[in-house]
Symmetry: C2
Subunit: 725 residues, 2 copies
């Protein structure tokens, strides 16, 4: 055990140390001329101010939740919850920090070197800070929770000896609940960051585009646009801080759900294996993740160690991802060998490992393959290299309405292939390693998260760098370099999104299984029977939840964007000389509107995800909540895929038009206007709704798992039916 | 038994006879001046031609399917399938016929009397032909199938005596399979009519609006618009023929699923009741429906018997619906009393009737109440009397993009309340009368279908009448009368849509239960276990199917509408004197484009719904298909509600703007343009996608039920796992 925990801590510290190193390397770079510095400072200040405010609010909510949890469940669980919250918050904060330092330095690198490869290297270094942070903090938290509550406070030993632990008022608690608490902490912070950041960035983006591009016909990031600084702040608080917290949450969810499931399998009579086997089944997911961090650190070092990067950023970035993924799989194989080779055949059979000691590794590899497949499908449906996005681009000739319907159609149709990949992964990983295999597929999918987050973060850094170039009125070729990097970022980010959605589906399902285990008697088969009327009714309500949640989120963005449009129009109308460039706009007012909107609107959807399963649990009991979880998972996965892909496709269809790829329908034409409308509609779908849906189902399943011991005992329905007996 | 069948036949004949009477009363009316007659004849010809073509294609497909079914399953089932197809086809055909006679006569009535009440009465008489036809044909078919296959060929007796019937090659068959065949016939025709008609009407509508309103700024139904006749033809083939077949299918589905479920409950050991009880449980749904037809005939007669109708069409129509619904419930109570009062307490208990003989009636009444509730929720989210649609209307000030996102948000948010009503109905009707109660709720919901279809059909008749008035250049006050009637039709139709969606969910679930029964051993509890990996994978794929199906449909409409836009633009460009009114457009070319598009595009989605469960069944077996059905049902209900409501809301937001309700943002403004774009995006969603999704899940569940005896024996997965044993 000691070796495993040492390895885990080593990987966490390695990731964080390398991240800090890159942080300071980036920060040492030159910021460029005075105007660039001034703009960057404004963006940095905006982002800092917003995230500080946001964290203050979130901290209060997290503390209230922690107090409630410590009263209702256990102080250990509440403490783990806070550790998760801190880890998630820290990753988001540091990522945002480095992104707001890196952006202007990337602009300056492009300006001074005029080299695509040189600029790419710096942007990627900036992104890698976030990537390594996410993995490092996640593993650090797991190590702390495992060490303190599992080892020192004996919760893990209690699992082995089947000792019943209880909280202060006699409710049974367990190590799985503490682990869930950690995951829940990460998820709740991620939800606030994603939703708050998502509303901020999209309201600013939509407000800037709707008036700037559609009405005033000035280019993106034009300094005359009052919302342009807010838009660039948004990239940092939404696409960087939000994304970081989101992927940390997914990563922790995947690892922890596997650990919890192993424990539940051990306790259930469905499987039969010994204590050593359990320990190794708990170690495998986090050691695989630890191996992944080491692999990604190597992959990043190889990339950054090169003197010169080529001028093909797509190739460079994919190479870095593939190196990291391959190394992770190699290390994973060794871990599987070391952990499971010594186990007896009875243990392996008892856990459902049909391919012997390599079984969990095969399941993890299946996860990697299907995650990359989902990413590829996303690329197919959203890149203008392929037909769907080209069809949307051609539809713009027919006006805005046809552009929208064609995009809806592409998004809806795109769902099936990815879902088929997830379905196949479930079937195959189950055949290979039973239910545990499904959880390992999720872990595998995210094991090289550091590499994918690095790539995901490099995109908004390049985007911001372009904005700064535009606002600082630098030469067109600077903007050209950052535009190329940004465009590549959009495509490579597809893989990251695919991994996040796929792993969310698998991790939620494995949480759902643990949920069922936790109240199914040990000698009964585990059942989630959808023809039971209670479960069915729960399934229906659950299936409606992601729709309600998405509707609320879209409304929040739309409302805030509407305020922004009104303000930007006012400034164009009232500030004379704004359009001619003789007068500066009031950037600050726009930043305030985005901040206030985001902070006002983020509470309802975030609290809904936490509250719904609890309330339904206390009213209708366990069967209903089981239905709720599966219903929500099914529709959330569909909506997440559909909204991400349609948004991406509209975005790139617009880029296709702007690249003059359809003769006679370039910038300034009606077709371009239609394309901009499509892109704007897609904005909240792909950057606010889509990514939040993953978190929604994970929060719902984790909260249910944590609260089930409570509402399986105390619920209104049992109370009423008790009265009639 | 004889009395029950006599009553059933009586009701069917009464409905059809009254329908024919109204048909000839309408046809006898005056058609107005020569220009009106010419336009009406053009619309009639267009509708006739299209439906004739469509039916030829559909007849061929139906015959091929019937041959396949008679080989694979049984000739009885294939014959019942064809009977269903004929009934559904006949109802659609007659409804379309009367609508194309009634439209111009309604225009003329408005012109000659200038009375809203008089015009309403004629339009409603036209609508009632369709309403009574739908119910009459549906019951006639049930009577024939029951009489021939159940009684004369002894299939019902075989259920009672537990005799195993087999087909020509030894596969076990049963009365439930024959009944399913009848329902399947209705559903398959409905799918083609809905999809074909839906593509036709929306392609024409969108084509007409996109160029006419948005680009050339001429009013709706302007005779200068080349697509205007096609648009009016579309109302008849989509909103009338398509809707009629659709609701007949829902109605049959609800009744037959109850009959099938009763049989399956009788055969299973889960319930214990005698042969008399079974017979009465089979009679109850169709007698309730027969009572409903009589009630609706009375309700219609009361309305049409009045000398003068008031000038408040909303009140008049609602009164007619409420009279019909109340009478249906009263008759239903008597039926429940007569059928179940004599049954023993053991029988009632054995069937799960917890409130004694009134139990199934209570379940049916719950269905009526929740159907009306869903209709009210639809009205809330789509009428501009309420806030959601007003919010969309206000969003138009912010441009097209915000109009679209606000509409998406309204549609998504609207899902939850209706789903909660469905969920509650399931829980309560189950408590009252067990699984049978859930089916009775569906039957109750649709028991007064004749009244709701009459109201639904009167809408497009009034719409067409307005079109004819406009094209014939009649006075503005004629158009005013028809516009008022049309607007009311939009709102009252909401109740019809609510009933269709709610009953589809309940009927599909009861089919799903019958599906499970049909392969679950009699002494085992019936389980659809969503944590079984096969079922779960099926659930994921199933949940993706409605998205894929919707995406394909939207694409079909968009593609055909795109062709239409190109053609209409061409005519405006090439035909000199078209805009000034000196030259006539080429209406025929537009009619051809809509027809060809609809006939070309309707096959894939329709055949997909039939083929998918069969293919998956033969590959992955029963568990997977069970998951497929529940997954598809969950997402189809959500998407149907969301798309119908968002489409309706955009439509009425546009009407709100056009009614000059927001000062400064009326016709011709940018806000109006944005509203038109919203309406156009909503068109395929509310009139093609939404209504087809109901049919999709019913076809999928019926096909699965029919084929399960086959693929539970022969499937690839069993074959493969057999090899490994």
């Amino acid at each position: 055990m000691t070796i495993a925990l040492v390895l885990l801590l080593f990987a966490a510290v390695l990731g964080l140390a390398y991240s800090m190193f890159n942080f300071f390397v980036v920060k040492r770079m030159d910021e460029g001329d005075e105007r660039m510095q001034r703009i960057a400072a404004a963006i940095r200040l905006g982002a800092n101010t917003f995230v500080t405010y946001e964290y203050k609010i979130v901290a209060k909510i997290a503390l209230v939740l922690a107090v409630l949890l410590s009263i209702l469940i256990s102080w250990e669980m509440a403490a783990a919850f806070l550790i998760g919250a801190v880890m998630s918050g820290a990753a988001g904060w540091l990522g945002m920090k480095i992104a707001t330092y890196a952006n202007v330095r990337v602009t300056n690198r492009a300006r001074t070197t005029n080299s695509l490869g040189q600029t790419l290297k710096l942007a990627y270094r900036g992104g890698s800070v976030m990537g390594l942070c996410v993995a490092g903090f996640a593993l650090l938290g797991i190590a702390i929770v495992y060490l303190i509550f599992g080892v020192l406070l004996g919760q893990y030993q209690a699992v082995l000896s089947d000792t019943a632990l209880t909280n202060w008022w006699g409710l049974p608690i367990s190590f799985t609940i503490t682990l869930s608490g950690y995951a829940l902490g990460c998820s709740v912070i991620a939800m606030f960051n994603r939703v708050g950041g998502g509303i901020y960035t999209k309201a600013a983006d939509m407000g800037a585009d709707l008036v700037g591009k559609t009405e005033e016909h000035i280019p993106e990031d034009d300094p005359r646009n009052p919302a342009t600084i807010a838009d660039n702040v948004g990239d940092n608080v939404g696409d960087v801080a939000g994304l970081g917290a989101d992927l940390l949450e997914s990563y922790v969810g995947a690892i922890v759900s596997g650990m919890i499931l192993a424990t539940e399998l051990f306790r259930s009579n469905l499987s039969a294996f010994g204590a050593d086997m359990l320990q190794n089944m708990m170690f495998f997911p986090f050691l695989l993740a630890a191996g992944g961090v080491i692999a990604c650190a190597i992959g990043t070092a190889i990339m950054l160690g090169q003197k010169e990067l080529s001028d093909f950023p797509h190739k460079e970035l994919n190479r870095s991802t593939y190196i990291s993924a391959s190394l992770t799989l190699i290390i994973g194989f060794i871990i599987s060998l070391v952990l499971f080779r010594p186990m007896s055949a009875a243990d392996l059979d008892g856990a459902g490992f049909s391919l012997g000691f390599v079984s969990p590794w095969v399941a993890a590899a299946l996860g990697v393959v299907s995650g990359i497949a989902i990413g590829f499908f996303a690329e197919y449906y959203t890149s203008y290299e392929y037909r769907p996005t080209k069809d949307i681009a051609n539809a713009t000739k027919q006006g805005a309405a046809i552009t929208i319907t064609e995009g809806l159609s592409v998004g809806f149709r795109s769902v099936m292939v990815s879902v088929a990949a997830i379905g196949l992964t479930i079937l195959l990983s189950y055949v290979v390693s039973g239910l545990y295999g499904v959880a390992m597929a999720a872990t595998g999918m995210l094991s090289f998260v550091a590499a994918t987050v690095s790539v995901d973060t490099y995109g908004p850094i390049a985007d911001n760098a372009g904005g700064i170039a535009q606002m600082s009125k630098l030469d067109d070729d600077v903007r050209e370099i950052t535009d190329t990097l940004d465009a590549v970022g959009n495509t490579t980010a597809a893989i990251g999104k695919g991994l996040a959605i796929g792993s969310a589906a698998l991790a939620t399902l494995s949480m759902l299984v643990s949920y069922l285990f936790s109240f199914t008697p040990a000698d009964e088969a585990m059942v989630l029977n959808l023809v039971d009327p209670l479960t069915l009714a729960g399934g229906l309500i659950g299936a409606a939840m992601p729709f309600l949640f998405s509707g609320i989120l879209i409304n929040s963005v739309t409302r805030t964007a509407g305020d922004m449009v009104t303000e930007v129009r006012r400034q164009f109308r009232e500030i004379k000389g704004l359009l001619s460039g003789t007068e500066d706009p009031d950037y600050k007012k726009c930043i305030e509107i985005a901040s206030e909107g985001a902070l006002r609107e983020m509470r309802v959807p975030a609290l809904m995800s936490v509250g719904a399963p609890v309330i339904f649990g206390f009213v209708f009991g366990t069967k209903f909540v089981g239905g709720l979880l599966i219903g929500a998972t099914l529709t959330a996965v569909m909506l997440a895929l559909a909204t991400s892909n349609m948004g991406g496709a509209w975005d790139n269809a617009k880029k296709f038009i702007e690249g003059d790829n359809i003769p006679g329908y370039g910038r300034g034409t009606d077709a371009h206007n239609a394309a901009v409308i499509g892109d704007t509609v897609g904005d909240p779908l792909k950057d606010t709704v889509g990514p939040s849906l993953n978190i929604l189902i994970k929060i719902m399943s984790t909260v249910s798992l944590v609260m089930v011991t409570l509402f399986s005992r105390y619920n209104l329905l049992d109370l009423i039916s008790g009265l009639f007996k």
